[in-house]
Symmetry: C2
Subunit: 456 residues, 2 copies
């Protein structure tokens, strides 16, 4: 039986989740199918099968509620899973709140973040399909690190297109990927047509996640034994991340708790979906009144200021077109430190749930989130990634609200990763060099005018 | 009951260690008492009490076998303890060895290394004694990080004298300490007599651990509410670290194993003593035939090439004089990447056990240990600290020996920390810039001629 040792909840082996949870089984409205960038018509499985293995495409589309986790994946998950569920008692005391704050900590993974949950699964299914190499993009480097580790476990190689500005500013992230055997290129490169096209327009381009995706997809399309892997946004990626919320549910049940509020930072949506979906299930099927909140940076406020529309997943327009909240595929967010949240779009599943008012969203400025991050580090001993600190700030606000209202409540958030590779950002914050730029709708006027025309 | 999930051994709460193990209770020969640097006579408790709380001095001297861990310390240990005991199956497979390789992983602590085990204990006892500030030195930064976190937990401040060469080469380590609230100075400073004395001789001094200790001790001597904290060498430090070996023993017993070989890297001796002493106990009291091996860098080969003699713990000569293996207190080791192992001396307890042939020692060159580190990262998914990689190389050698002899054996080693802050070292290794300098006895001719004269 699971037990709480006063600090964390520990599960027994027979309580480890054996299946991922597929929210498509329970959603009232499902996102429409992705469209082919070439034809504008629903993307055909054959098209997608050029870059994804069939098993993942099936997971992308299935409405089956529970998907069994293959034993080789469960075996590797056990290297760091179940991740701990902590009660933040010292933070509660500092806030003098009657609320209980619980957090799941994904920074214990060897990659340092939740990203490894899907990287392991994607590497496994690709290896089973005979693929020898996975190619991907990375911004801040968390996803590239996770995929480099995952491919090493399955004896495959890994090629990473890393956004140029990060490649230059975060050499340690690149070195981490290389230590695990990954090959890392500064994107845009002259190795792809997409890269050359960007460089022809702007030889000094600093790159973007959208450009790096274009390059990686192109490489995958051109080689038989190479596939593409995406670290967020897609249904199967969010599916794999539900292991977080499923564990959290069992862990909270072991202490007779159920959350009143569930919060997580939200960029492409995989961290948020990972912890939230098993609780959204209860909202959808049992009418539970849990408040579910996606937290995003004000510099890239996809849900809170984006448009619910069809758009490309990348900059150049090579990926399928998906219906989602978007700031426009060529929107370039300000260079905030939470690099993992600088994505113009959002997962179609998360977008649909937000559109249907099943979940909430809010946005914070970066000085706020660093203040929360340092406060949390000094209370709880863990230095969070700036991305994860968005959820901390949201949890603090909820706890203060509970204090002011004099109500007990149970807050759950996901601490998606540690900040060991973000110390230059902490340097900027501690030395007063972090600034806020309040959102203005002028930012997205042009990019939102570039949305693809879709006629169905 | 503890269980093995195929990857790691998980303990139940009633199996968490409640006491530290004090090896002084079982040693046939005990190290002689430390001598006062002023008088050359056994140091008086009043002298030591100027920089250490009485509770720690009692732990330093007691012969009681089991020391109860106070509940506030156990509460904080639960944030990352019990640390996992992993079986390195993928490494075993790659080595094609009949040996089993098990490793304890201390990198899961928020500080990233085993150092937090004693930092928490030292902060607790000092807080209980009314101390408001702890001052210490740090080389590579692991100890300073651990003490910054520990003092934050107990509402105290922390001042860290960081060896100048590390301060300049490892800004992220300094920032990590500052994020947790620590104040960090580049040593030698002009804030202390010891620092000014060094700077007068050499204004461009890059500092050393010995110099930084001199500065920190001086500051502690001069202030009533400030004490000094040391991260290794002393008996009470090794005592606190035995939590590692005690957990490992219970974890191995849960899978019906007992190690034939126990290995750990050894600088000042706290990591080594931490995992080894609970097994040395069996060697001393039940005649167990376990091979116990301290692993050190060939660039600073204290046990394998040092002299068993009285020497100072610091460079300037402010600390008590202890009998230990030493390369001479003014020996300056080559600038290897395993900064945590660049100490001229060794724990008196470890030194005595080595002198009495209860334990073994061996030394490796740094190109070997980086080769082992990268191999381990790609097999096991964890990027080790260069210090910890010494134990990996030793375990690999044992496993290959077992393969060649065709014998099964159980190898246990301690992976003392992760390498997230050592990526510039990996950069050097991956790009062919790591070089070896084989040990020569000429290195220590002068420093060994400076040992203090002791007449008892």
């Amino acid at each position: 039986m699971a037990y709480f040792d006063g600090v964390k909840v520990v599960l027994e082996e027979n309580e480890y989740p054996t299946h991922w949870y597929n929210i498509q089984a329970d959603m009232k409205t499902l996102p429409p199918p992705p469209l082919s960038p070439a034809s504008g018509q629903p993307a055909q499985p054959e098209e997608l099968a050029r870059i994804f293995p069939v098993a993942l495409l099936q997971q992308e589309m299935t409405h089956e509620r529970w998907i069994e986790i293959p034993e080789p994946i469960r075996q590797i998950y056990r290297r760091w899973r179940p991740s701990p569920l902590f009660r933040a008692r010292r933070l509660e005391q500092e806030l003098n709140t009657p609320a209980e704050i619980w957090y799941k900590y994904e920074g214990v993974s060897p990659a340092g973040s939740h990203k490894l949950n899907t990287a392991i699964a994607q590497a496994y299914y690709n290896q089973q399909a005979g693929i020898k190499n996975l190619v991907t993009e990375t911004g801040a480097g968390q996803w590239g690190t996770a995929l480099s580790i995952a491919t090493a476990f399955f004896g495959m190689t890994c090629t990473v297109y890393m956004v140029k500005v990060s490649y230059e500013q975060k050499p340690y992230r690149r070195l981490l990927m290389e230590s695990y055997g990954g090959s890392v290129y500064s994107s845009p490169t002259d190795r792809t047509k997409a890269g050359r096209q960007i460089l022809a327009k702007d030889p000094n381009s600093l790159g973007s996640l959208g450009i790096a995706i274009s390059e990686a997809v192109e490489v995958a399309l051109e080689s038989q034994d190479t596939n593409y892997a995406l670290g967020s946004v897609l249904n199967h990626v969010l599916l794999h991340q539900t292991i977080i919320g499923l564990e959290a549910k069992t862990q909270l049940a072991a202490v007779d708790r159920y959350p009143d509020v569930v919060m997580a930072s939200c960029g492409g949506g995989s961290n948020f979906g990972g912890i939230a979906f098993p609780f959204v299930q209860d909202v959808l099927t049992t009418g539970a009144h849990t408040k579910i909140v996606a937290v995003e940076p004000e510099a890239c406020p996809t849900l809170t200021h984006g448009q619910f529309a069809y758009d490309f997943g990348d900059t150049v327009g090579m990926t399928p077109i998906m219906q989602m909240y978007t700031l426009g595929h060529d929107f370039v967010p300000a260079s905030i430190h939470a690099g993992g949240l600088r994505y113009h779009g959002d997962s179609p599943l998360v977008s649909q749930l937000y559109h249907d008012k099943v979940i909430d969203a809010r946005a914070y400025r970066q000085t706020q989130i660093f203040e929360a991050a340092v406060r949390f580090a000094r209370c709880e001993g863990i230095l969070p990634a700036p991305e994860s600190a968005h959820a901390i700030q949201a949890a603090i606000d909820e706890a203060i609200e509970a204090r002011e209202a004099g109500t007990r409540k149970v807050i759950l958030f996901n601490l998606s990763g540690h900040g060991h590779f973000d110390l230059s950002a902490y340097d900027d914050y501690l030395n007063g060099r972090v600034v806020d730029v309040p959102f203005s709708s002028e930012w997205t006027e042009e990019s939102l005018s570039h949305l693809p025309k879709v006629e169905l």
